[in-house]
């Protein structure tokens, strides 16, 4: 086992192969990026609590040592304290991240990525593998995510652009869900919100079995293939239909929010 204690700003390069990264921090700005070459860590502004980096048989772990001082707790509430930790690892690395408060960026990873934050923000960019992110409060912003994507938050917006994931699961209690999907294939898409609204855009030539259910909100659709039943407002409204061959599945539920299903023009 090799370990480093970083008290000031520092850069480390891990010469041995890394196939797993585990991060447990209270408050941080955390960036994990898939890059070529050896694993690297950049730490800036660690404050009075040193950051502890450990390497043991393929696993790189990052933690913080010590306890919070009173002043740090006050600044924590105002979100003004905490290190910025940037980690560059080979794209296929398995990544497991937990923050109490903070912002997270994960980009260019192709393996399994798991992240949990109590309050803060998650940004995902160009991920290809299995991705699962959870927040209690705060938004998830994702761009160009493929593979398998799960996003959950209690209060916060979930937004996905240029999504080509085969499986998408997005759940929020009080936030809005916005998805722009560019994958006509056999996708499994499941979006649910209690009081937010849902806006989904899928390709005009999608092959999807669509089921939309809004309890008290409105449903708006660009697709004439969908038919409506249950205009009785006490059971809510349902719109469903088959687009193309209907190989994939799109299910959307919203309790008090509205659902908008848009068609994305296909250039090719």
């Amino acid at each position: 086992m090799t370990s480093w204690t970083v008290a000031g700003s520092d850069r480390l390069t891990i010469t041995e192969p890394v196939d797993r990264v585990v991060v447990r921090l209270d408050y941080a700005r955390l960036n994990v990026v898939g890059t070529e070459g050896p694993a690297r860590i950049e730490i800036s502004r660690p404050g009075r609590r040193p950051v502890l980096v450990e390497y043991r048989s393929g696993t790189l772990s990052v933690r913080q040592r010590g306890r919070w001082s009173w002043m740090e707790l006050v600044r924590l509430v105002r979100r003004r304290v905490g290190p910025e930790v940037s980690i560059g690892v080979p794209p296929g690395t398995e990544v497991d991240l937990q923050l109490v408060t903070g912002t997270l960026l994960a980009s260019g990873l192709t393996g399994s990525t798991r992240a949990e934050i109590t309050s803060g923000q998650i940004t995902l960019m160009g991920l290809r593998g299995r991705t699962s992110v959870k927040l209690v409060s705060g938004p998830v912003e994702a761009l160009g995510v493929a593979g398998d994507l799960t996003m959950e938050t209690v209060s916060g917006e979930l937004i996905l652009a240029e999504g080509t994931a085969e499986r998408i699961q997005a759940r929020t209690v009080s936030g809005a869900i916005t998805c722009d999907l560019d994958n006509p294939g056999e996708s499994e898409i499941d979006l649910a919100t209690i009081s937010g609204s849902v806006t989904v855009r899928v390709r005009r030539d999608s092959d999807l079995d669509v089921r939309l259910h809004a309890t008290s909100g409105t449903i708006t659709s660009d697709f004439p293939e969908l038919t409506v039943d249950g205009l009785r407002s006490w059971v809510g409204k349902r719109a469903q239909g088959i687009l193309g061959t209907g190989r994939g599945r799109l299910a959307v539920t919203a309790q008090s929010g509205s659902i908008t299903l848009l068609a994305r023009a296909t250039a090719e």
């Binding site: 960036n31 990026v33 898939g34 890059t35 070529e36 690297r40 950049e42 800036s44 910025e84 940037s86 980690i87 794209p91 960026l105 980009s107 260019g108 990873l109 192709t110 940004t123 960019m125 160009g126 991920l127 290809r128 912003e141 761009l143 160009g144 995510v145 937004i159 652009a161 240029e162 080509t164 916005t178 722009d180 560019d182 806006t199 855009r201 008290s216 909100g217 409105t218 449903i219 708006t220 659709s221 660009d222 697709f223 004439p224 293939e225 969908l226 038919t227 409506v228 205009l231 009785r232 407002s233 409204k237 719109a239 008090s256 908008t260 848009l262 994305r264 296909t266 250039a267 090719e268």
Partner: protein, 215 residues
């Protein structure tokens, strides 16, 4: 700014890739992905409109073979590449430098994602407005709104951007939809006195306008 291209940079890079030989759209996407190792994730929806615009400007041409468009650089395109050679070299060294500085790279990715999503939100909001304007919305609770029962909704029966429903029907539908939507907005929520007062003033204002128009 490499991870998400700035305006004009993607097009420069597409020209650069086509300089090596003709390619179809998916090939270009794959090459961009390889080049940026997943830091930039272009989709067909980003690439094709750019290629189309470049074609209309005469920088590329295409040949359709087997249902696929093969793009090829034109002399004008080569000239543009030559003119912007410095910019291209700067872009490539920027890409290398930013991959070396992780923290800076992360900052750039963050702001790139934020910009893209901001654009997407606006685009989708406009698209949703357009769809609603064409009358493809099912008003909530229309069945309980009286003798009209199920209101015919042209958008759901024939989705081809309709010539527009009869104005009289459309008016009736909107009127019912208005009440239903306002009900839905207020249902189950405890509104403050201020919100209610403002809403009443808004309703009075709309009614006043209609009175003046229709009297």
């Amino acid at each position: 700014m490499p991870p998400v291209f700035g305006h004009g940079q993607l097009r420069l890079y597409l020209l650069r890739l086509l300089e090596d030989g003709p390619k179809h759209g998916y090939e270009l996407i794959r090459l961009l992905e390889e080049r940026f190792r997943g830091l930039y994730a272009p989709s067909a929806g980003t690439i094709y409109p750019r290629l189309q615009r470049m074609e209309s400007e005469g920088l590329v041409t295409h040949q359709a073979t087997g249902g696929r468009k093969i793009y090829q650089i034109t002399d004008l395109g080569r000239q543009e590449l030559r003119l912007r050679a410095d910019e291209l070299a700067a872009l490539e060294s920027e890409i290398r430098a930013s991959v070396a500085d992780l923290t800076k790279l992360a900052g750039e990715i963050r702001s790139g994602v934020r910009d893209s999503l901001h654009g997407l939100r606006q685009e989708l909001r406009a698209a949703a407005r357009e769809t609603r304007r064409r009358g493809r919305e099912i008003p909530v609770g229309t069945a309980e709104t009286g003798p009209y029962g199920r209101i015919p909704d042209p958008g759901w029966t024939d989705g081809t951007a309709p010539a527009g429903p009869e104005p009289a029907d459309e008016f009736e539908r909107r009127l019912l939809g208005f009440v239903a939507e306002v009900r839905a907005l207020t249902r189950g929520r405890r509104l403050t006195d201020g919100q209610l007062r403002t809403s009443i003033r808004l309703l009075d204002g709309a009614l006043d306008g209609l009175r003046r128009l229709l009297r």
